[in-house]
Symmetry: none
Subunit: 218 residues, 4 copies
DNA sequence: CGATAAACGAGACGGTACGTCTGGTCTTGTG
DNA sequence: CACAAGACCAGACGTACCGTCTCGTTTATCG
């Protein structure tokens, strides 16, 4: 059973369920201007080269307004990223679990091959020096996805009890970690061939084969 | 046969096989002062928070001298890192290939669990915004190691032809990538249990088991 | 006869003889809170270092309320200053004019030697960059006093026609200006000796001497 | 005898008679650019409204360079002011002391009537909240001049022993303070009539008269 | 041995961004 | 309408590093 993951929003300041005791309310349009300016800048520059000043300038907004609501560049980026549903890797529940995992993995890898992957890499890069950023990434991007994947693996095990008795966490790591490793190290492309063949190789180790229509062969 | 990997030194400036036409020679003590100042600072701070000025100050050296010989902070760090043989993961050739791989992986994981791992993470972090850094990391840290691992995997295959016919690259990824992923994401500790059990699980998928003395059971 | 000096209140906004057409009336307690908060802050800080925000905070009042009724920090200070009758230098009319002038000058100098003098200096300081402040100071603090002094000098002349035939304005300047000059330049203390001897020296130039009880010797 | 007044330059940082231990030498042209930019801005704005950023912008210079050599806006202004010999009120020693004093006072008053006077007022204004500025003004502008004036008054006393036996300091105050008071309060113009008549009135109190050619009548 | 030439320290310099602060203005809701 | 609360833009604050530069000094090699 899937543990319910709390998607808390650590890095964002306040927002404690509405105190609202008078005072001008926060401007929604300003908030959106900041986030979309951030996305625009991210298209042409790495997080590390973007400045809060540039975001403010691009958004036509005062620096202080950004600092009032976020406490680091990375937090703004993460919010902007989520807001625009940049990474979406739905897990299907209406098909064979192995097929669902295959589709999910390929969807993830394809997205990580492009611009969103670059940004994820940069967020993780920021996270290396700032644990808060790393934590926020995990809580807002990773935990939920990981939990779902674990769950589907467990379902697969019920259908196919012949799968080796190996910790699910380890299986998930073997399947998914390469994508992150290739992203961070730049060794081994995340290209069409890799996306096609790697998961097939992985599942074959578990004794699961797919036909030409990517259907599981029982 | 192991391909001889060229350990080129991309980021370092000049050093073009000695023009040496007069002039004061480069001071070796200065070079060492810079590198060890860098290491010292790295012990208490992330690369991202270290400045060239701080290195110069700590080393009692002029900023210009650093800029003369390196062209980025990350290059200095990488040099300092290598100089002190911070990461050493020898691959044994006198034992069973599977045992050699097991020992090598564990040695690597143990080192990545500590301070050297933190630094590697930060170097890769820098690399996300600066491809030259990423490339230098690959060329100076990764290619060599990867090539050796691939080679030993191939030797293993000769001894154990029953190993599934899967691309060696993919196998290496399944085994090694998790270490990098855990490093970068901070999800899943690189702790004793993980170091003990993960490779055992991995090799069991290949049909290779170890006894209590970590000897391969034929 | 003293010209009637109009004590207009230039800097204060509106207050146009009461239109009062409905609506919540201005809160007197708020007004007082602002002024006494201002005085409190003035005790420990120069005008130049006080901010409207600090006054609002101290008074528990909204910034906008302050801006509605005053249009500069200096105006608030001047109001606060007057409200508390900080500087009071009564001119006696029941004694010999020279004695009245002597007492008046000494009372003024004594007050300028202390904290009120510091504040006056700071108000005049603000006035150097903002003519409106300078004008307000003159109209609310200076004109009245000056007119009274001129008047008493003229009375003195009637009693003592031997006083040199010099413009009264010039005489007043010679007597009073030093206090301001010492205040602004900080050269020459406004101390007991100065307060005792300077006016005696001045009056002696006019041929007026005082006995040990500060009575004019006719 | 004139006390030798040390014209020290308190507010300016370092400059300790040349340490010169290597390092790029200070750029004289940069220094001049800063000072003349300051003067230019002063022509159209009060010190209080000028910013270090504006000076840096106008001079084409980095803010840090200004902060390296001066530690307050007022110090820059005072330096700029002195550099350009804005206020020069020479005291002649080859004529009758009373004539010298008359000429000196008028020269001073004339200059204080114009733009330089405005700037002096603003410097003194800054000084009200910042004692260091007040002190610097005294030490660099005032002490020297005051000492010279005192000295000439003493010479005058030797020639004309009939001058009332009044402290020289008090006499100087009676003569000169009005100029400062008028400057700071804006009450009483420093106009042609004042410049012509005030000192005549003053000296007549001392029993000194001038003919139509401003020669002392013995 | 004296000339040449690079290495090196010191530190000035123009830039750019930092994160904070104030000044004024504005936009709500409450009394 | 007055007012508190507080969001907001504008822009200066003083600091920190960046990477480059200009000096004077040192230390080798070569002629």
């Amino acid at each position: 059973m899937a543990k319910l993951i709390e998607l808390s929003k650590i890095q964002k300041k306040d927002e404690p369920g509405k105190p609202r005791g008078g005072g001008r309310p926060r401007s929604e349009s300003t908030r959106r201007a900041i986030l979309s300016a951030t996305l625009k800048l991210l298209r042409s520059d790495a997080i590390q080269n973007i400045t809060i000043e540039a975001i403010a300038r691009e958004a036509g907004v005062s620096k202080a307004t950004i600092y009032r609501w976020w406490d680091s560049k990375a937090s703004v980026v993460i919010d902007a990223f989520i807001e625009d549903h940049i990474i979406h890797t739905p897990m299907r529940h209406d098909i064979h679990p192995a097929e669902a995992l295959l589709a999910h993995w390929r969807s993830l890898a394809e997205q990580y091959a492009g611009w969103p992957g670059t940004v994820v890499g940069q967020i993780l890069g920021e996270g290396q020096a700032d644990p808060a950023v790393q934590r926020e990434f995990r809580e807002r991007f990773y935990y939920g996805r990981r939990a779902i994947v674990n769950e589907v693996f467990d379902q697969l095990r019920k259908i196919r009890p012949d799968i080796p008795d190996i910790e699910t966490e380890h299986l998930v790591d073997m399947l998914y970690s390469t994508v992150y490793r290739r992203l961070m190290l730049g060794y081994g492309l995340i290209d069409k061939r890799f996306i096609r063949e790697f998961p097939i190789d992985f599942f074959s180790l578990l004794g699961i084969e797919f036909d030409d229509n990517e259907k599981v062969i029982d």
